[in-house]
Structure formats: C-alpha cells, structure tokens
C-alpha cells in the first residue's frame, strides 16, 4: 500500500465525550508504525482536546487502569496495538461498559471494587507474624487452582464483557468471583465458610450463565468462568453438607 498520501497516514478516531449522556467526537490522528490505542488517546489529549479525561498509570499492562471500549470490545488500551484493531484506519473509543461513566473515557470503578468486598475478596489470615510461615505445596490441586486466577490486574474488562452484569447490575461479576475462588483455594486463608456464603447469595456465583465473555476478553488470559464453576461446585457441596449458612 502506498504510504505517500497524507490521508493514508492518518487515522480517524471517534472518542466519547461527556458523561452517561454524550456524543462521539471525531479526530484525525497521525498513524505511526508502532502505537497503542492509549498512545492515540494521549495524542488527542495533548494536541487536540486538552480537556479529554481518561485514566492510565503504568502503560505496560500491569496496573489495570486504562481499559476502554475499542471498536465495541473491552480492551486494555496500553497493550492493544492500533494495527490489531483499526479497521480501515478507523477507531471508535468509548468508556468501559457496565460501569457508570464519570466523564469522557473515565468510569466510576466504585461498584466494581465494592463487589470485591461483598464477595469477601480480602485475605483472612490464620497466622500472625509470630508463627512459622505456612508451607504451601505449589503442586497441590488447590494451589494450582489459586495460581490459575491470581494474576488478575483488576482492569474490569471481564465485568464490561459480562452479559449477566449487564442484565443484573447487582451480580458480583467475574473479577470478584475469580478473586473469591483464588482465596477459597488458598491454604493460608481462614474465611472459607463466610466467603462461600457471600458468593452463594442472590447476586452470587449461581447467576453465571457460562457465556465465557470474561474468559474471551480477559487480557491476562485468565478464565473466570472456570473459577465461577468451581465456586458453584464448592457452594453446592457445602449446601448438601449443611455448611452453607
């Protein structure tokens, strides 16, 4: 393809402006050989729209801050190469779905992290600093199950991709439930019963339809659907044993 024409070296980028009510604004941005979607948004803010609000921190796929909806799909923008997603030199960038929009590309993550709390996503230690460190067999079944989900970066891409969250905003969602599953498989944790009760309620793991949108979109390649299936199994076993309060 010829690279001489000026128009061929530009991308047309539509960016959401405003809150829940708003509109897409169109910008023309220079196309570069190597640029991420986050680079594009940064270019728009620095050269065309200083008031554009967006969120990022590490730029290397560790912090989970920069997720947005890119051409209809939730993605981590710092690790999404423009060449992968720009169809015909066009990009449409919106805030992440299934979360309240604060302004432009920034969503309110409060409901997302509140769900982590509701799912008891915090570690409940059974030892103190006075005790010997716990010996955890890295090859054990439980540890391997925990390791499979432990690399979540809290980007909320899975939550944006989840049909059940869209239908029922109270649903705890893939990230919080995945976190709960890693803790249930953590030999050092002491809140298994309380956590199983927390994830077995009306908004909990039994709502999952196993559509696997979370697993399909997770930038870290995790499989929250499998974690939720594990929670369902553990929840029903606890129910039959009379351990589910």
């Amino acid at each position: 393809m010829s690279q001489t024409g000026r128009s061929e070296r530009e991308l047309t980028v539509e960016v959401w402006r405003g809150g829940a009510e708003g509109r897409f604004e169109r910008y023309r941005v220079p196309a570069r050989e190597n640029q991420s979607v986050l680079d594009l948004v940064t270019w728009v803010q620095r050269h065309l729209e200083p008031a554009l609000a967006y969120r990022f921190a590490c730029r290397v796929g560790m912090c989970g801050s920069c997720a947005m909806t890119v051409n209809g799909r939730p993605r981590w923008t710092c690790r999404t190469h423009v060449g992968q997603v720009a169809k015909g030199g066009r990009l449409k960038i919106a805030p992440l779905g299934n979360l309240p929009v604060i302004r432009d590309l920034v969503t309110d993550m409060t409901p997302f992290f509140e769900k982590w709390q509701r799912a008891r996503g915090r570690f409940s230690p059974t030892r103190t600093r006075e005790d010997e460190p716990a010996a955890v067999d890295p090859g054990s079944k439980a540890r391997r199950a925990a390791d499979a989900g432990i690399e979540c970066i809290n980007c909320a891409v899975c939550t944006a991709a989840c049909d059940v969250v869209r239908w029922n905003p109270d649903y705890l969602g893939p990230a919080a439930l995945n976190r709960a599953w890693t803790l249930i498989n953590d030999a050092r944790d002491g809140a298994r019963a309380a956590r199983l009760a927390a994830v077995s309620g009306a908004a909990g793991c039994h709502n999952c339809h196993s559509h696997q949108g979370c697993a399909e979109h997770c930038p870290m390649g995790l499989n929250p659907t499998a974690a939720i299936a594990g929670l369902k199994r553990a929840s029903l076993i606890a129910l039959l044993k009379g351990e589910l309060s």
Binding site: A202, G204, H206, S235, L236, L244
Partner: protein, 113 residues
C-alpha cells in the same frame, strides 16, 4: 435460597433429560403407528410404570420451569424480589396441578376418556 434453587434446577434437569427423550420417542411412535386414543389408554390405564414415568415428569417440570422462568424474568425485566418468587411458586403449583390431573386421567383405571 439461591443455592437451593440452583441445585433443584440441576437435579430436575438431570431427571427431565432422559424423560423428555423417551416422551418424544413415544409421541413419534404413537402418531407414526396410528394408535387411537382408546389403544393408548388401554396401555396406560392401571400401569404403575406410566404413572411413575409421567408423575416424575410432571414434578420435575413443575420444579424446573418456574426456577428458569424466575431467572429469565429477573434478568430481562425489572421484576425481582418476593413478589416474583410468590408468583413463580404459584406458577409451579399450577403446573403441578394441571400435570397431575393429566397423569391421573390417563393412568387411573376406569377414568373418563
């Protein structure tokens, strides 16, 4: 309650799956073979096997249907909570009553055709 409903939904599905297959095969056989209503009733009346087969079918369907419908309504409409639960409990009881009536009509000896 959610965990119980989930368990009942799965157990009733396990029961229904083979029963539905046999039922469908039976329908194809009965219609394809041109059995009359009297011939069918002649085989079902007084039969403990068909009473248990369709009795179990009705119970499993009356459990499975309302639980699934409850989820669909809660996800697709704004209707949730106790009023939804009560409405679907009533729906399940109606299914159970209508189904039981149909089963009794074909298995009780001497019932009106």
């Amino acid at each position: 309650m959610t965990a119980w409903l989930s368990l009942l939904q799965r157990l009733s599905a396990l029961v229904l799956a083979p029963l539905v297959l046999v039922h469908l095969g039976l329908m194809v056989y009965a219609i394809g073979d041109g059995l009359t209503a009297a011939e069918i009733l002649g085989r079902t009346r007084g039969s403990l096997f068909w009473a248990l087969f369709y009795g179990l079918f009705v119970i499993a369907a009356a459990v499975h249907g309302p639980i699934g419908l409850r989820t669909v309504l809660a996800e697709m409409t704004a209707w949730r909570g106790r009023s939804l639960d009560r409405a679907l409990l009533a729906f399940g009881l109606v299914l159970l009553a209508l189904g039981a009536r149909a089963v009794l009509a074909v298995v009780l000896p001497g019932a009106a055709p």
